[in-house]
């Protein structure tokens, strides 16, 4: 009980004796443990030797004779380095083009006055309402018309413009005092110089928030790359993992599946654990995505 008392030490004095909040907290702790179970099983099963047999596969107590065999098998069956490379290319490709498009558009909406501004704003807003995932069928036909079927560029293209990113940058640019820009204007800086040397450097927190959301969502994207990509050597991690899982499921190689899953999610989990605060605040802004 002392730990709980410590947790409520900054609560208003009179409420510290209340039971209901503490019960809620205990329930949350229990649920958090349940939430961890799939991850725990993944770790334990990855290290479990095949000699333990299928009946011990679900055991959450780690094996006393841990082995790296499952990781080696997963590495040999799935072409994970290739999937990893493809996913990295897709995510960086999308993000670098997005940085250009959202910076320019965000600046136009934040600082320039032009005819049809509100109409154009609503045109951007439409992208948020017409959830891109739902447009997989027409988008696949458009990508095929460009001759980009079964290419990584085809996977990236529909995401090059981002209404969410544009609005995020507009907000960031609007918060920058105009005096800074006026000073640069007097020094004869061009429009692009002002964006490049004043607006972009001062908006890094927004860029990094956007980068986190963009990379995690495209790292995890599945249905769209599944439709665009046909050749095995162009599969991203998610598509590769689904094929890998289907193959290993047939032979009941659950330890190998756990190892493969671990390899796929490890990069994101490690990055999250390092930049926890940043991830969480970025995801709060992602609601309007």
């Amino acid at each position: 009980m002392t730990l709980i008392d410590w947790l409520y030490k900054d609560a208003p004095l009179a409420t510290r004796r209340e039971i209901t909040p503490k019960l809620g907290f205990l329930l949350t702790v229990l649920l958090a443990l349940v939430w961890l179970v799939p991850f725990l099983w993944m770790g334990v099963a990855t290290l479990r030797p095949a000699s333990d047999g299928i009946n011990l596969m679900a055991e959450l107590m780690p094996s006393l004779k841990p082995t790296l065999d499952n990781i080696r098998d997963a590495w040999e069956i799935g072409d994970f380095p290739r999937y990893f490379l493809n996913t990295t290319i897709i995510c960086t490709g999308i993000l670098s083009v997005q940085f250009v498009t959202i910076t320019l558009a965000g600046f136009a909406f934040a600082r320039l006055d032009f005819a049809g501004k509100s109409l154009l704003f609503y045109l951007f807003l439409m992208q948020l309402m017409l959830v891109p995932v739902l447009l997989i069928v027409p988008n696949l036909r458009i990508v095929a018309q460009f001759g980009l079927y079964d290419t990584l560029a085809g996977v990236m293209m529909p995401f090059f413009a981002s209404a969410f990113g544009t609005f995020l940058m507009r907000q960031a640019f609007e918060a920058i005092p105009t005096e800074l820009e006026d000073a640069a204007l007097i020094d004869g800086a061009s429009l692009f110089q002002r964006i490049r040397h004043i607006y972009v450097p001062l908006s890094m927190p927004s860029f990094s928030a956007f980068a986190i959301i963009s990379v995690t969502s495209h790292w995890n994207d599945f249905l769209w790359p599944l439709m665009v990509i046909n050749s095995p050597d162009k599969r991203p991690l998610t598509v590769g993992l689904s094929v890998f899982t289907a193959t290993a499921e047939g032979t009941q190689a659950w330890g190998t599946i756990a190892a493969g899953t671990l390899m796929v999610i490890a990069p994101l989990l490690i990055t999250f654990l390092i930049f926890q605060k940043r991830f969480i605040s970025s995801f709060v802004t992602s609601g309007i995505k």
Partner: protein, 316 residues
């Protein structure tokens, strides 16, 4: 260009009026040009993949091929009526409604509980928040790979541990009465931590002094929650509900990996149906018609939620 300049007046009057408007339009366009150039890169891609795709769906929904090699033929609303008459589609719509309600309510409820319990920031609550947030980060495909084993009959995690308590267990993913609920469990596990973040943000707007005053007046934790916290969180609820419903329509990766819509279409959801029509049956007409119906429903929902928000702001 002001009318106060007397010398300018006769000139302006003698010129045809539409030329004047044209000229003003031209100057307006000229001053707007830099903005248009900055917006151009975004607009090109939006035109292709948002408005273009939208137009494409509208057109494709009106055409049909008798066989995959036959020429395209205009069929009007036949695709729409074919989709509406397809028991697989209506089944998918009903499944999706059950799935939306059955995932939105528990995950929002849990998210609220988590946020209330973890509202104070210290080392323990930060660790718990991170734990509950972990599933949000991983791909749905990876979550499915893990839950495939959890739901495995006899030797799977669920049966291994709760099999000792219950004598008869269903085949979680193989029984058409249970499979949809099993799929929902994954969605709840994956999304509750995400919605928690919005409630945590929303809770910060609950005024501390009002809370304390209410407490001095003898309001218990439940009364304070019911009369102070909940009303303050109303916008968050609305917002999270819209996101939860959008997720219920757009997140179907686990259906693909775990059940492929089966057994006997029990876990078929609308987006998976669209995928099947387009990729497995090469029926672009029907896939487009189904996309169109889904988009109409979602846009209706978004419009409704905007109106509710506007109404409340107007009324408050």
């Amino acid at each position: 260009m002001s009318l106060a300049e007397p010398a300018a007046l006769p000139v302006a009057a003698s010129a045809p009026p539409h030329l004047h408007i044209l000229k003003r339009f031209a100057t307006r366009f000229k001053t707007s040009l830099p903005a248009y150039l900055l917006l151009l890169p975004s607009l090109v891609f939006l035109a292709l993949f948002t408005y273009g795709a939208m137009g494409r769906v509208l057109v494709d929904a009106l055409y049909q091929r008798a066989t995959p090699k036959a020429p395209l033929r205009f069929v009007g609303l036949d695709n729409i009526s074919a989709v509406l008459a397809d028991p697989a589609f209506t089944g998918a719509v009903i499944n999706n409604l059950v799935y939306a309600v059955g995932t939105a309510i528990p995950s929002i409820g849990l998210a609220l509980l988590f946020a209330l319990a973890l509202a104070r920031t210290n080392a323990v609550t930060s660790a718990l928040r991170a734990t509950l947030f972990l599933p949000v980060l991983i791909p749905m495909v990876a979550a499915s790979a893990l839950f495939l084993f959890i739901f495995l009959p006899n030797v799977g995690l669920l049966d291994y541990y709760i099999g000792q308590l219950l004598p008869v267990l269903p085949n979680w993913l193989g029984d058409s009465d249970v499979a949809l609920y099993a799929i929902m469990v994954i969605t709840i596990w994956k999304n509750a931590g995400y919605y928690m973040l919005f409630f945590l943000a929303g809770l910060q707007s609950v005024p501390e002094d009002v809370m304390e005053a209410a407490h001095l007046d003898g309001a218990g934790p439940w009364a304070r929650f019911r009369h102070i916290t909940l009303p303050e969180l109303k916008p968050t609820f609305l917002f999270v509900t819209v996101i939860a419903i959008l997720n219920a329509v757009t997140q179907v990766d686990h259906v693909f990996v775990m059940t492929k819509g089966g057994p006997s279409n029990a876990t078929n959801l609308v987006l998976f149906y669209i995928y099947q029509q387009a990729v497995e049956h090469y029926d672009i007409g029907k896939a487009s018609a189904a996309t169109l119906l889904t988009l109409a429903a979602l846009m209706g929902l978004t419009a409704l939620s905007f109106r509710t928000m506007a109404n409340r702001e107007g009324g408050a």
